[in-house]
């Protein structure tokens, strides 16, 4: 069974193809680790899979439906994204940031639940109401991860999620990802971090825009 799939996907910038005929299929309850050199096209692939960029060729489907045919709000509720930059408003607190993104996604969201997600990513209660401008890089990344958890999405596209995390943070990230997989999430993880490689149910390698055939972990 496939949840998110790309078929013959190509994407170009300034006339140069960054992604070339990419085919991949991501199953529910799985973690796929995507590796590749700098500039191989990992972030671009994640953008295309998230529907942020429209492929120049080919099609991306979610549960068999082309992303272009899916209502934007529904797509945003299904696919969560975490980049190098965790995507937070620096003047807002961790709590306010996560509440905001959850409320944007879910009209009937119970915002009191947000505290539980912040605790789950290891943010101490005293930091929940502090503007994130004063956070360390690792704390920002944890807050970004809480935003992903709070989104309720079942497809996670994560770009270097261990950026800035200490060893305890990486261990926590590993646990969060394993739990999400066990709950049925489809996770694609672009990383250079060797500590995250053992998480992979499947590994893909991107080389100059081409996906190297999958190697079972």
């Amino acid at each position: 069974m496939t949840r998110l799939a790309a078929a013959g996907v190509g994407w170009a910038i300034d006339g140069r193809f960054v992604l070339v005929d990419v085919d991949l299929a991501l199953a529910p309850a799985s973690i796929t680790v995507l590796t590749g050199e700098n500039g191989a096209g990992k972030s671009s692939l994640l953008d295309v899979l998230a529907g942020v960029r429209k492929p120049a060729r080919g099609v991306v489907t979610l549960d068999g439906v082309a992303l272009g045919d899916i209502d934007a709000a529904h797509l945003a509720r299904r696919i969560a994204r975490l980049d190098h930059a965790p995507g937070l408003y620096l003047e807002l607190s961790a709590l306010e940031n996560v509440q905001l993104f959850r409320a944007l996604l879910h009209a009937d969201a119970l915002l009191s639940d947000v505290t539980a997600w912040l605790t789950e990513v290891g943010l101490a209660a005293r930091d929940h109401n502090r503007p994130v401008r004063g956070f360390s890089r690792g704390m920002l990344q944890r807050t970004g991860l809480a935003r992903v958890l709070a989104s309720g999405a079942d497809v996670w596209l994560l770009d270097e999620p261990s950026t800035g995390l200490d060893r305890a943070g990486v261990e926590l990230l590993t646990r969060v990802l394993q739990t999400a997989r066990d709950r049925g999430a489809t996770i694609l993880l672009a990383t250079h971090d060797p500590a995250l490689l053992p998480l992979a149910d499947r590994r893909l390698h991107l080389h100059l825009g081409h996906v190297v055939p999958p190697v079972e972990a």
Binding site: A50, A72, A73, A76, A85, Y89, E91, L92, L104, P131
Partner: protein, 223 residues
Amino acid sequence: MLLRLTWLLLRKDLRVAARSREVFGFMLLFSLLCVVVFAFGFLREGEAAAEQVPGVLWVTLLFSGTVGVLRLFAAEEEGGTLQLVQRTLAGLHPLLLSKALLQLLFSGVTMLLLLPVVLVFFDAALTRPSLTLAALALGLVGQAMLGALVGALLVHVRLREVLLPLVLYPLLAPLLIAGVRLTVLAQADAPPEALQGWLLLMAGYDALLIAVAPWLHARVVEP
């Protein structure tokens, strides 16, 4: 849905603005500086030039409004949230609308604080205050809508500080010209038929901007 999302985003922007304490303060300070410069520039034989009030008022609001527009998307740029918010929303209208409302709020408060200062510096009084305020409100609505649109379109453009006035001012020219004319006529206590055309022009231009800006924004920004 549109109103709920717009309110969520506007409330967030107000919180950010209250905590960073930069945009509104800069707008107000900049507009006060403009008024002082104009006041000394237009001194005639030591006397204030009251007939310059319409021009000074509108040009100052245009300049201070530009300061606000330049910072409209600063929080999104700084935290890398723009793309995230764009793909979180069901369509982009709430984002544009919330930014336009934020700009309107800041420039509206600036205008209310600035108006008495201009009148004091130029030793003038408003002949028909309600008409002048109506003209200013129409001008600020158009500036807010257009400012939010141009600000959003230029958000990733290099040299946008230079480009913004070059793009924004020509597009605001109809509102600026009509607004100044309307204020001049209001100060001269002109008959209603002399004002009607300018009022209609401003209201029509605002309606056009409100109708076209969200569509254009979605066309340019959506993948």
